[in-house]
């Protein structure tokens, strides 16, 4: 098994890459932090990526 170690300071880990996780990650970077976005599936997006249009504004999801 390969091993890798990261020693960056000022980093936050976000677990889950749905809308909630992605938004948290974006805001954290805006606030000056480095983010590891950990997602268990092959792509981020979560449930929202499966939705057609979303209320209340009914525009496309992403």
């Amino acid at each position: 098994m390969g091993q890798a170690k990261e020693t960056k300071s000022g980093a936050v880990m976000v677990v889950g890459g749905g809308v909630a996780g992605v938004q948290a990650a974006l805001d954290l970077t805006e606030l000056g932090y480095y983010v590891y976005l950990v997602e268990k599936s092959a792509a981020i997006g979560g449930a929202m990526a499966q939705l057609d249009k979303t209320f209340p504004t009914n525009d496309c999801s992403l």
Partner: protein, 952 residues
């Protein structure tokens, strides 16, 4: 997906969290990265491999309604945009055979030798956002789910509606592909149901059912849709409007309990019972189950690894006044995992969690931050030849199914200045950005036109791509052929295509004249102003101060606390008085917070980063003034109880026997022996939802249940009757609603066709209403009538004039984007939270305040703001100094002053200018031009509209 482009976000997909050790500010996380078997660096997402892969795989992304292959990508805009191989179904990984994809891949990206990798991360804080899980199939089975293919979950139905779904957006029965004529929605499947251990309400299903029903109606106006529900919980800001719209479109709402769904001839038979106990049945072609949000399947596992607790439903455990703190310090929560919620609420929580995490590790701010660098901007030579690249987008089939995209693209061939044109399936996808960059280089393009969706959402993305390619971001023009063509002319494809051609021709005409515009930055004053010292204002100020920023709270009343001072306890039993005291003590003691009471904002000028406010401080009869300079402002001016004079057509004389819920709460929290009335009638939506106020106030149902429970606690024999339209005890409040019913509180619905009547006062007080179970009129003479009145915002109209920010029809502030920017206002540097935004319970207010603080901290952290380059500029030669522009500018962004030679000339204050164009359109001598919208550019566009090209 912005996240895929940020140099400060490292996406670790296919990853499992294995361990988390350490303490706040200094955690170590251990991850396992499962292999994709495809080299992300090499994969171009061409899709050839999927075509060759021989094995079928049920497509989970399409909710099992379609098939894909073990080697695939879920959807073209996926981030990371790399294919992957599902090891559980791949023939090679399972049986050591096949490997056909390896030679097929032209970029040699397939690598079966990849092994799982372990990775250790050093982090200061953790945000948990694992979302929600699925309701188990056994719960769905009672509606014949799994036995009959035309019984679908709402998520499956969502895929059917979606252009990228199994039938490309056509709704068809799965049994025989006929178009369903009758569709039923069943609400509360897997929610509000102790039978499946989910006692809570999932909060989003009522709203998404309406959405899905409306979209289905759009696809096929003939389809008949019925929604079977217990309560329609559309309590969000402006959500009731969607229900009204659905009713107007002929969608039928039936308050009923569905017993079962059975196959019946070629249809499905749905049996239901009404309130009066009668049973009925009806046939449908398709049945959609509005499934709730369950806790994530691996919630327990995650909680064990990270060391935090779950609540009784396996969602994350949190407290009313600290809604985003898990029980493990340094680990925060956001999104549906905190409790079922919609996207706007999830996004708000995320910003809030980001702000709290940022405060925790503020000493490490910017230490790991990578500053994005762009290639040097290429300067355009003075007479450089115009070289336009046009990209026409299919948006999946969103545009492509209506507009003939290839035709539109071909149409640009040979147009003056156009040297390159292409189509793309999703021009917003990551690889499409790479293509644009590449084409800019290859063809030396210096103007880009993208014909796709709305510049409001997507212009920044493309502009960023231009910057990455070394072009000024203003050398870009976006044409909206989705909203303006494929959406509004969905039924006239030929006309929509013709209109797209017109718009593209006009966009190109404008593009020939666009010029690079400079980007300017302005420094930011390192202080925040928070208007309002209620729980929202205090929470926001505390978070800003914790993040290291000096904050001034301006409160017009005598002390801190606001509306919450009128409440005593919450539905969950928190002691409000004590909690409020703790928060105000913290605020008063904080060295970076200054509190100014008896103070009002009289005037504000300036712009994001540089506001200046004039404050009036009242002292007895005299008043003092002071000014305050600040970089950002948070509006938390709150609201108050509405006291309608008329309720459901009845004149109201408030008295000791006719009170509001707040007054009842005060009485119940008091010491009097007889404080619990022997008999109480409560009327919900008193003066709300179209009665006096147009909207739902979101908290009154909870308030009624809370008081009813308190009465029952004090006197179990007391009689309490609640007359309601829809009980909106969403989320965990549903537990309290159930408890109240169990304790004998009687809930009786009323409709707008038979409103309760109130007569008399004092001892002769009478309430008459229709009882749907007895099917007759009932008159009660209660000791007390409690009205569940709504909430109105405080002083938003005056403030909106002062700050030049819009309010909605209900006088609440109108946020910049309901879903994606819920706490930002349209004026940069101004944020909103609490009751000033919309009525909501205290836990949601705390979150919103933290989110507003996080957003407000962004410019403060950066220390400077970038001004939009599309601003007005004055040609001093032409200006006659008439001052018309100054008097018209709604943002005070243009001033007339004497120049060196003493002549009056107008000048734009760039940082204040919003680029609205009022000045330019009114200048009598055409001395003002708008960056990006010059007279020359607009005339060219209009002229192009008149030209019909020879090809037509």
């Amino acid at each position: 997906m912005e996240a895929g482009r940020s140099p400060n976000i490292e996406i670790l997909s296919n990853a499992d969290l294995l361990a988390l050790d350490g303490k706040p500010g200094n955690f170590t996380a251990k991850l396992r990265l499962r292999p994709r078997y495809i080299d992300a660096e090499k994969c171009t997402a061409c899709g050839l491999c999927t075509r060759y892969c021989p094995r079928h795989l049920v497509d989970q992304y399409n909710e099992g309604l379609a098939v894909t292959r073990p080697i695939h990508i879920d959807y073209p805009q996926a981030v990371p945009a790399t294919y992957f191989i599902d090891p559980k179904s791949c023939l090679h990984l399972q049986h050591g055979t096949c490997q056909i994809c390896v030679p097929v891949c032209r970029s040699k990206a397939i690598d079966f030798s990849q092994q799982p990798e372990e990775k250790e991360l050093k982090i200061g804080a953790v945000v948990m956002a694992p979302g929600f899980g699925r309701i188990g199939n056994d719960t769905l089975a009672k509606y014949s789910y799994g036995k009959h293919a035309d019984v679908l979950t709402s998520l499956e139905f969502e895929r059917l509606l979606c252009a990228s779904g199994p039938f490309e957006g056509e709704v068809k029965c799965l049994t025989d592909h006929r178009h369903p004529k009758k569709i039923a929605f069943i609400q509360c499947v897997g929610s509000r149901d102790l039978g499946c251990d989910n006692g809570y309400c999932s909060s989003v299903c009522c709203m998404y059912a309406i959405k899905e029903a409306l979209v289905a109606k759009e696809h096929d106006p003939e389809v008949e849709i019925t929604i079977y529900y217990m309560d329609m919980r559309t309590q969000g800001k402006d959500f009731d409007a969607a229900r009204t719209k659905a009713e107007a479109k002929g969608i039928r709402f039936v308050r009923a309990r569905v017993a079962d769904v059975m196959p019946w001839h070629k249809q499905l038979k749905l049996t239901y019972s009404l309130l009066d106990g009668t049973h009925h049945f009806e046939g449908f072609d398709m049945v959609v189950l509005s499934v709730g949000l369950d806790a994530p399947a691996d919630a327990r596992h995650l909680a064990n690894i990270a060391g935090f607790e779950l609540n009784n439903y396996d969602f994350c455990r949190t407290e009313t006044f600290a809604p985003l703190l898990t029980t493990k310090p340094g680990v925060f929560v956001a999104g549906a995992f905190q409790g079922p919620k919609d996207i706007p609420e999830s996004v708000t929580q995320s910003s809030a969690a980001a702000g709290i995490a940022a405060a925790l590790i503020k000493k490490d701010r910017n230490k790991g931050y990578v500053v994005k660098s762009y290639p040097k901007e290429r300067e355009l030579a003075k007479d450089e030849e115009v070289r336009i690249g046009v990209f026409v987008c299919h948006c999946g089939i969103n545009i492509g199914s209506v507009v003939d995209v290839p035709l539109v693209e071909q149409y640009t061939e040979g147009m003056e200045g156009v040297v390159y044109h292409a189509q793309s399936l999703y021009s917003c996808s990551q690889d499409a950005q790479e293509v644009i960059k590449q084409k800019i280089k290859e063809h030396n393009l210096n103007r880009i036109v993208v014909a796709a969706c709305s510049p409001r959402t997507h212009e920044p993305l493309f502009q960023e791509t231009l910057k990455d390619a070394g072009l000024n971001r203003c050398l870009f023009e976006m044409v909206n052929i989705r909203d303006q063509c494929s959406w509004v002319h969905a039924n006239e494809p030929a006309a929509a295509t013709a209109k797209s051609k017109d718009l593209v021709r006009m966009g190109i005409a404008k593009a020939r004249h666009i010029q690079p515009l400079p980007e300017q930055t302005v420094p930011v004053i390192n202080r925040a102003l928070v208007l309002g010292g209620g729980i929202a204002g205090m929470t926001a100020a505390l978070n800003l101060a914790e993040q290291g920023f000096h904050t001034t709270i301006v409160e017009k009343g005598e002390g801190l606390g606001g509306h919450l001072q009128h409440l005593s306890y919450t539905l969950r039993g928190d002691n409000v008085v004590q909690q409020l005291k703790e928060v105000s003590d913290q605020v008063e003691k904080h060295k970076r917070i200054e509190v100014m009471t008896n103070t009002e904002l009289a005037e504000i000028s300036g712009f994001v980063g540089n506001f200046s406010s004039r404050l009036v401080i009242k002292k007895g009869k005299s008043a003092k003034e002071s000014t305050l300079d600040h970089g950002v402002i948070i509006i938390a001016t709150g609201g108050r109880e509405h006291r309608p004079e008329k309720v459901l057509g009845n004149e109201i004389k408030y008295s000791a026997r006719i009170v509001t819920q707040s007054e009842l709460e005060k009485r119940l929290a008091g010491k009097a022996k007889d404080r619990a009335p022997a008999s109480t009638v409560m009327i919900q939506c008193a003066g709300s939802r179209g009665d006096d106020l147009a909207y739902c106030s979101k908290v009154c149902c909870n308030h009624a249940v809370k008081n009813a429970l308190k009465i029952k606690e004090l006197d179990p024999a007391a009689q309490v009757v609640v007359l309601y339209r829809d009980m909106r005890t969403y989320g965990y409040a549903e537990d309290a609603y159930r408890e109240a019913r169990e304790k004998g509180v009687v809930f009786i619905p009323y409709g707008m066709e038979a409103k309760p009547k109130i007569s008399g006062s004092g001892k002769s007080l009478k309430v008459t209403f229709h009882d749907p179970i007895l099917r007759e009129e009932v008159t009660m003479t209660p000791e007390l009538l409690a009205l569940s009145v709504g909430i109105v915002p405080e002083g938003t109209e005056e403030m909106s004039k002062l700050l030049k920010i819009p309010v909605n029809q209900d006088k609440f502030y109108l946020e910049a984007h309901v879903k994606l920017r819920p706490v930002e206002l349209p004026v940069a540097g101004v944020y909103v939270c609490g009751l000033a935004h919309s009525p909501k319970p205290v836990d949601e207010i705390v979150v919103q305040a933290q989110a507003a603080a996080a957003k407000a901290a962004i410019p403060l952290v950066k220390g400077c703001v970038t001004v939009e380059p599309t601003v007005s500029s004055v040609d001093k030669e032409l200006c006659i100094g008439c001052g018309l522009c100054e008097s018209l500018c709604p943002y005070q962004a243009i001033k007339v002053a004497k120049d060196e030679s003493g002549k009056r000339k107008a000048e734009t204050i760039t940082a204040s200018c919003k680029g609205c164009g009022i000045c330019a359109s009114h200048c009598p001598v055409f001395a003002i031009s708008m960056g990006g919208f010059t007279d020359e550019q607009i005339s060219a566009q209009i002229k192009a509209f008149g030209e019909t090209s020879d090809k037509e």
